[in-house]
C-alpha cells in the first residue's frame, strides 16, 4: 500500500462480479444498482489498514459522543433552534418546550462521511436522521472479501442494528418500518432491514404513511393480519423534514414527541441532521472539539462572500442525497445563478462550508474521490459504507465501494 491510508484493490473479474451483483439484487434488496448509465456497484474494493480503521473508529465514536451531548443541550436552548433552518412545524414543536416528551431512542444510528485530504481526515457531514446504505455496507463487503486473501470487513452494521433492536424490544416484538411512498431507494432499505428482522424471527410490516399507525395513550398500534396490534418499535426511515410537511391529520408528530413506543432513529436526530448544526457550536457549552478539528468551517450565507469565491460549498440545511450541494466551479453559470437566487431568498435554509480537497485515488476507471461513511450504532463504530465519485461531490450516482481491511 502507498503512503496514502487507502487504495483500490484489484478488480474482481467481470464474471465473478456479475455473480455478486446478482446476489446483491436478488437476495440483499440492492434494487438501484443502475443509475442512468452508471452501474453503481464498483468491482474494486478500497483497502485500508487495521490502524486506519482504528483511527476512523476512534474519531467516529468521539464525534457521536459530542453530537449526543449537543443534541440534548439544544433541546434546552430554544434560542439556538432558529439557527437550524428547521421546517416551521418542527421548529414550533421543538421550541414549545415539550422536550420532556422526547424519549431517547434505544437504537441510534449515525453515519459520518469521512474524506481523506492532504491535511488528514476531514468530515463533510453526518447522516443523522435516516442514514441508509446498510446492505452496501454489510453484504457487499462480505461478498467482495472472498476475493481478497487475508482481508476482512470493518463490521456488519445491519447485524449490529438488528441486534440492538432485538435487545430493546425482546424476541417477540413487532416492528413497523416506515418510509415515504414511491421513494424506492428508501423502500429497499426498509425491505432489507425487515428481512434482517425476519431472519431473527421478528415480525415486521412496511408502512408508507404515519397515518397507518393509531396512537392510544402514546402507544402505536396498527393492523396486523386483520387485527389491531401494539407496535413495539417504529423504524423511521422517513426524513424528518418530509414528515413535518404532512398535514397534522397524518399523525406524524408522535414520531417526534411523546411516543411511548420506541422510534428509531428518534425525532431529536433532525437537530443534528441540519447542515446548519455547526452554526450553533460557538454558543454551546458542550465541547465540540472533535467536530471542530475535523469539519471545515461553516457559515451562514449572509456572513460570507461565497458567491464570488470557489472556496465555499453551498448546502441546503436539509439535503440527504447530495442533490442540494453546489460548488460554483462544477456547475454552469445559469444553474449557479438559480442557486444564488434560492439562497438569497431564504438564507436561513442554507449554509456555506469551506471547501476541502479530497485526495483522489487511482482506480481502473481513473481518479475517484472516496467517501468513507463510518456507522456508529449507540455510540460504537461498527462498519463502513464506501462510495466513490468521479468528481469531488458524492451524490446519488456515486459508486458503491466495498471497504476492506487489508492484511488480516
Amino acid at each position: 500500500m502507498s503512503i496514502l491510508p487507502l487504495a483500490f484493490g484489484h478488480a474482481i473479474s467481470p464474471n465473478e462480479f456479475q455473480c455478486i451483483q446478482q446476489r446483491m439484487s436478488l437476495d440483499c434488496c440492492k434494487w438501484d444498482s443502475q443509475v442512468g448509465d452508471t452501474s453503481t456497484l464498483f468491482p474494486q474494493p478500497l483497502l485500508i489498514s487495521g490502524e486506519t480503521w482504528n483511527q476512523l473508529k476512534e474519531m467516529a465514536e468521539g464525534l457521536a459522543a459530542e453530537l449526543n451531548e449537543a443534541e440534548n443541550e439544544l433541546l434546552h436552548r430554544s434560542e439556538l433552534l432558529s439557527l437550524l433552518g428547521l421546517p416551521r412545524p418542527l421548529h414550533i414543536e421543538f421550541t414549545r418546550g415539550n422536550h420532556a416528551a422526547l424519549r431517547p431512542g434505544a437504537v441510534r444510528v449515525l453515519r459520518f462521511d469521512f474524506h481523506y485530504t492532504n491535511d488528514g481526515w476531514r468530515i463533510s457531514e453526518v447522516n443523522s436522521d435516516v442514514p441508509g446504505g446498510y446492505t452496501e455496507a454489510s453484504r457487499f463487503p462480505e461478498m467482495v472479501r472472498q476475493f481478497f486473501q487475508n482481508a476482512r470487513t470493518t463490521g456488519d452494521p445491519a447485524n449490529e442494528w438488528a441486534r440492538e433492536l432485538l435487545a430493546a424490544i425482546g424476541e417477540r416484538g413487532r416492528v413497523a418500518l416506515l418510509s415515504a411512498p414511491g421513494f424506492f431507494e428508501d423502500q429497499q432499505v426498509t425491505a432489507f432491514l425487515a428481512a434482517e428482522l425476519q431472519a431473527r424471527n421478528i415480525d415486521s410490516r412496511l408502512l408508507h404513511d404515519p397515518s397507518q399507525l393509531n396512537w392510544k395513550d402514546q402507544v402505536a398500534f396498527t393492523r396486523w393480519n386483520g387485527n389491531e396490534v401494539k407496535v413495539d418499535a417504529i423504524v423511521r426511515f422517513y426524513q424528518g423534514e418530509w414528515l413535518a410537511r404532512l398535514p397534522d391529520r397524518n399523525k406524524w408528530k408522535p414520531l417526534f414527541f411523546g411516543s411511548r413506543t420506541l422510534v428509531a432513529n428518534p425525532g431529536i436526530a433532525v437537530l443534528s441532521e441540519s447542515k446548519r448544526f455547526p452554526l450553533t457550536w460557538p454558543t454551546l457549552s458542550t465541547s465540540m472539539s472533535t467536530w471542530t478539528s475535523m469539519m471545515p468551517e461553516c457559515r451562514d450565507p449572509l456572513e460570507s462572500h461565497w458567491k464570488s469565491s470557489d472556496d465555499w460549498i453551498v448546502k441546503a440545511a436539509f439535503s440527504n442525497t447530495g442533490d442540494e450541494i453546489h460548488v460554483r466551479e462544477l456547475i454552469d453559470a445559469k444553474t449557479w445563478g438559480s442557486v444564488c437566487k434560492s439562497v438569497e431568498s431564504h438564507p436561513e435554509r442554507w449554509v456555506v462550508q469551506r471547501r476541502f480537497e479530497t485526495v483522489p485515488i487511482t482506480s481502473d476507471l481513473g481518479s475517484l474521490y472516496p467517501c468513507i461513511g463510518v456507522y456508529t450504532i449507540n455510540g460504537r463504530a461498527c462498519g463502513i459504507y464506501g462510495r466513490a465519485s468521479r468528481q469531488p461531490i458524492v451524490n446519488y450516482s456515486a459508486y458503491d465501494v466495498a471497504v476492506l481491511i487489508a492484511g488480516g
Binding site: 411512498p181 397515518s211 397507518q212 404532512l246
Partner: protein, 257 residues
C-alpha cells in the same frame, strides 16, 4: 420451475445491452408463492411495428398487459426490459398464501406472475444480446386502487429519468427514436421528464395509442409549466391527490370505531 436466478438471467442475460436497466425487484420475488394468471390476450396490430433496429419502445400499460405487449414485441426482435419499480408485497409475506397477504394499493402480483409464466417463451426466442429495447412500465404504478388505511400495503411507485439509459447512450447504440405505447393521449407525469430529456438529447418521440389502429404519431413533448413542475415535485414528496402518487397520496385516516 426455474429458479429466481434463472428467470432473472432470461430477462437480463449476461452481456445483454439493456440488462443493467432491468429492475431486479420483481425478480427477487419470483421464488414467492404467487398466483400466476392465465394468459390473457392483448390488442396488438403488428403492421406498424418498425422493422429497423433504430427504434426503442416504452410500453406503459396496466398490470401484466405491459409484459404481454413486451412479449409480442419480442416476437419482432425487441428485447423486453421490465422497469417495474414496486414490491408486489412485503418480503416477509413471500411464503404467505396470496389470499392471506395484506391488500396492496397497486396490483403488482399479476405482473410478477406474468414474468414467471413468460420466461420460458422468452428463453426460447433466443433474442440477440443487442436487440433494440422495449422498456416495460405499469401505467397503474402511481394510482392507489384502494383506500390506504392501516393494514393496506402501499406499493405505489414512480419512474425517474435515472431508471432509463440516457439519450446519448441510446444514440451511441443506434437508437434514434422512441415509441411510447399507452392507453391515454397524455404522458404520465413521471414519464414526462424522461421523454423531455431524450428529446433534448436528439431522440424523436412517437406515441402509439393502445387499441388504436393508427400507426405511431410523432409528438413534441412539452415541458410542463413552472407551476405544474412545482406541484409535481411537492406532490411526489408529500402527496395530496387522493390515491395518486406524484400528484399522489393523501392517506385516509383510520376509523377509530
Amino acid at each position: 420451475m426455474a429458479s429466481k436466478d434463472e428467470i432473472h438471467k432470461i430477462w437480463a442475460p449476461p452481456g445483454g445491452m439493456w440488462s443493467p436497466w432491468v429492475k431486479p425487484v420483481l425478480f427477487s420475488f419470483t421464488d414467492a408463492i404467487c398466483t400466476v394468471p392465465p394468459t390473457r390476450s392483448v390488442v396488438f396490430q403488428k403492421e406498424w411495428v418498425p422493422k429497423t433496429s433504430s427504434t426503442a419502445f416504452v410500453v406503459d400499460l396496466p398490470e401484466e398487459a405491459g409484459i404481454l405487449w413486451g412479449m409480442r414485441m419480442a416476437e419482432f426482435g425487441y428485447r423486453p426490459v421490465p422497469l417495474y419499480n414496486a414490491l408486489p408485497f412485503a418480503i416477509s409475506d413471500k411464503l404467505e398464501t396470496p389470499t392471506s397477504r395484506p391488500i396492496s394499493t397497486v396490483h403488482v402480483e399479476p405482473i410478477l406472475g406474468a414474468v414467471v409464466r413468460e420466461s420460458s417463451t422468452l428463453h426460447k426466442l433466443k433474442l440477440p444480446l443487442n436487440s433494440p429495447p422495449a422498456f416495460l412500465l405499469d401505467s397503474d404504478r402511481r394510482i392507489a386502487k384502494t383506500d390506504i388505511v392501516p393494514g393496506v400495503f402501499d406499493n405505489r411507485s414512480v419512474c425517474f429519468t435515472t431508471d432509463f439509459p440516457s439519450a446519448a447512450f441510446l444514440i451511441e447504440h443506434g437508437v434514434n427514436s422512441v415509441v411510447v405505447v399507452q392507453e391515454t393521449a397524455t404522458f404520465a407525469p413521471d414519464l414526462l421528464p424522461v421523454l423531455i430529456a431524450w428529446q433534448q438529447g436528439g431522440i424523436k418521440v412517437f406515441r402509439k395509442l393502445y387499441q388504436d389502429t393508427e400507426p405511431p404519431a410523432a409528438v413534441v413533448v412539452q415541458k410542463p409549466s413552472f407551476l405544474s413542475r412545482i406541484w409535481f415535485r411537492l406532490s411526489v414528496a408529500l402527496g395530496f391527490h387522493r390515491g395518486e402518487l406524484g400528484a399522489f397520496g393523501e392517506i385516509v385516516p383510520a376509523s377509530s370505531g
